[in-house]
Homo-oligomer: 502 residues x 2
């Protein structure tokens, strides 16, 4: 019988009757699988290579350690109470399952302030607006003004191909004038939207608005290039409202860890995954040596670049999928400053400064506003920029973040204390940020991992269309739990609709 | 000597030497004046008509009372911990002085989530998109798509009047394609930006996007009318980041109240303000009868509609200004619900739903996300809409909020508990939301109130270009304190630049 699963509550029927499930990886997907299977009467065991849970759901605090494959283990040295989220730092409001788990696990949330018109654009290059910081609001409103002016004129002069009735054309023009802040002549002449050079205030302080930037200057300086498109606001996943866990995103992992602590083995590095006739055999090594355990079934949540180097007897389809699906190169650096100069001096509270250099982005913290000290994320980059920066030593990454960052915030020189950087594609037990599919790998390889390989199921953000998001881990965990449970109880569970009976 | 005043710290020199200043009104302006003058060695006394401080900086909680001039006093009956801000509910990030006082007074702040793409547009009227709720993101992204498509085509076909070089035109087209989410043929064909009708998820849940609304339907349904312009995002004052005080905006007033408690007299309704040869004489009445006190100077922060009905011997210019400067008609209703259905059912966390009916706006709370109960603001309206609704009884206002609100949220029927409404232009001791200037009143009457009338200074948001904002109260308070202190110490203090020496 096909049962429909509710959106958030997860009330599967039937019992797992003590079936033994070995779960590989204590990230969000693995711990959620264990948590949910435990509710259903399964006997689970989680093997985690690290001495911590959470995987990529990880906040760097004083004492946090990370190991990149070509470097000595690094230890963070931040002040108490300060942290940054090395992995996921944002929860979209429509990721209701993530929010459901926050609620179920008692993790308080707060707004993650993704959109901030007071941050900067910084373009290295030529052009009169290059090599200096420009407030985001200036570019947003100037460009919006020029674009609406052009279109309004075009419609006005009957130069439009579109079939607009005269009445509709008039409505569109009225809209454009409001949208762009045009004057009565349908010209963009700057407005308070782009900010003041002298703020309005008491008495005769009426406020003073600067002239707009020239469109040609904006273009020449690269500020209409893809680095500065409004993706941070428009993408479905980044549209407000966004959230974060209060006290660090790792609070979600820690809350799950509490639920699964009795069945969790840390420091257990899996070396072999073998389907055997009546179940699975897992070999792992820890400080004491090599161990072998058997289970009825296994859920493997290891990132594919890690799984790729583990011995297994999976089908050739599965084996190829593991090898061929790509992962994002990405890195972040957390920088502790003596003073929240971005708030005090520049009125920047949260949000993102965008650059076209290797920094790509500077993230200002969305917590402890008005506090004394703070950690900002000095770069958050991807692809070849992340590769280039990841190849540097920790010291040189810090130097890069300081050198490029002080062009925007000269306060760096006086206020900087210390940093900690993570290059995810070089990080042991991860070796990648998140799964990145091409049309080809999604078509040719992804489906192989959606089915269990005999007694081994695969789960994690890489087995969803929610790559990079915690929601992917949660949705995948539920999908696999439903699928596995359906097989055990011999009912078909509709989560997802395509869940196989096994 | 002209001294420049720092942006936030307020370090005036010299002593007030015990000069006696009577401050009328314990709103933010009055209490800030007292707080700052006290630091300088003045002897202040604050007279407040109400039995509470804060004025319009007021959060309605269980037991809060309000008196509208034509109604019996109403008492709020909300659950413990729930509140709504009847007055100011938002702090723009660039109101650094407001944030400075939050810091100085130890009032924690949190993000006020003003922009939320998941709220609704609701247009009453004709057209296929009328009389039903449409997600904000659908209209934003569809309109953005159509506008950029039109302009890209126009440029492509050389129909543009603007002098764009060929290279720049190409750059603009590339920008428009990204900005609007256009396809390779420069056509808007919907995208994930407008949301999914089936969310992406695990396994084969690739997600399904609906067709865009037709531009003609959007226009016909009034969704490009001024009621739905993007003002909530674009206006300088409403651009992210925005804040609120944790636990209610009245926490700012309460923190100030603590500082001035010893010099505060509540329940003191001023009836006469008289400049006398060596100072001022203030007559007020309280429960015990009429009292008269003298001071060296007075700072009057009473809203002009109130001051207009108080006896005084001000100059005719001042008297006319008091009578002629207009105030906003505005009202809000707080509605307590058993369940935060807007979060649970509709994934709306904070932000604003816009309507073209008398509700104008529904504000969802930006605090206690994921909690059980909540208060939303069922309408926040202005001008003739506020007048119409304000003229209703409390019961009929609630009925209106329910009748119009359930068209958007049918959950109202099952989940509603109780309401409390405030009509500011009918509220005793306010009789208006905030000063609203025309070009004429700003030119002809405003200047008269920027100077002291003999020994009486005027302060409040109405004496700034920051009308309606708490920043106006703070900036005006500092301006007047600097001006008054400059007169007493016979130095000229540059706050504001136009501060008179008296």
């Amino acid at each position: 019988m096909l049962k429909s699963a509710p959106a958030h509550a997860f009330n599967l029927e039937g019992s797992g009757n003590g079936k033994k499930v070995i779960i590989l990886g204590a990230g969000l997907a693995g711990m959620t699988c264990a948590y949910e299977l435990n509710k259903l009467g399964y006997q689970c065991k989680i093997l985690e290579a690290r001495q911590r849970t959470g995987g990529r759901c990880w906040s760097i605090r004083n004492g946090s350690t990370n190991t990149e494959f070509d470097k000595a283990t690094a230890t963070a040295n931040f002040d108490a109470g300060l942290y940054f989220n090395a992995g996921p730092s944002r929860i979209p409001h429509h990721h209701q399952l993530t929010l459901h788990y926050c609620k179920e696990l008692g993790v308080p949330i707060q707004v993650y302030n993704n959109v901030n018109e007071n941050t900067y654009y910084f373009a290295e290059g030529k052009g009169s607006l290059s090599n200096k910081k420009i407030r985001t609001r200036e570019i947003h409103n100037d460009v919006r003004g020029y674009m609406t002016e052009m279109l309004a004129k075009s419609i006005d002069h009957g130069n439009l191909d579109a079939a607009l009735s005269k009445e509709d054309a008039q409505k569109v023009i009225e809209y454009l004038m409001a949208e762009g802040g045009l004057d009565v002549d349908k010209l963009y002449k700057a407005s308070a939207r782009r900010g003041y050079i002298e703020s309005p205030g008491a008495g005769n302080k009426v406020g003073k608005i600067a002239d707009p930037h020239k469109l040609a200057d904006i273009i020449e300086s690269g500020l209409m290039d893809p680095d500065f498109y409004n993706v941070a606001e428009y993408t479905y996943e980044l549209q407000g409202t966004m959230f974060q866990a209060v006290g660090g995103m790792d609070q979600i992992a820690k809350a799950l860890e509490k639920k699964v602590a009795p069945i969790l083995t840390m420091g257990a590095e899996v070396t072999n995954i073998t389907n055997i006739s009546d179940g699975v055999k897992i070999v792992y090594k820890d400080a004491l040596g090599e161990h072998s355990i058997n289970g009825d079934m296994c859920i493997c949540t290891l990132p594919l670049p890690i799984l790729s180097n583990i011995n297994h007897n999976f089908s050739s389809d599965v084996s190829r999928a593991i090898d061929f699906i790509g992962y994002m190169k990405t890195g972040k650096i957390g920088m502790q400053f003596k003073r929240r100069f971005w708030e005090e001096d520049e009125a920047i509270y949260g949000g993102i400064t965008h650059t076209n250099n290797d920094l790509t982005q500077i993230f200002y913290p969305s917590y402890d506003y008005l506090d004394k000290k703070g950690i900002l994320i000095g770069y958050y980059n991807f692809n070849e920029k992340a590769e280039r920066v990841g190849d540097l030593s920790y010291t040189d990454r810090e130097k890069l973040a300081l050198d490029k960052g002080r062009l925007i915030h000269p306060q760096y020189d006086k206020e900087f204390e210390r940093s900690f950087s993570v290059s995810w594609h070089k990080t042991k037990y991860n070796m990648g940020g998140w799964a990145v599919y091409t049309n080809d790998t999604r078509r040719d390889h992804y489906p192989a991992l959606l089915k269990p390989d005999a007694n081994v199921y695969f789960a994690g953000e890489h087995l969803t269309y929610l790559n990079a998001w915690m929601a992917g881990a949660f949705e995948s965990a539920r999908s696999v739990v439903a699928s596995l449970h359906g097989r055990v109880t011999e009912t078909r569970v509709a989560y997802p609709e395509t869940g196989t009976k096994g």
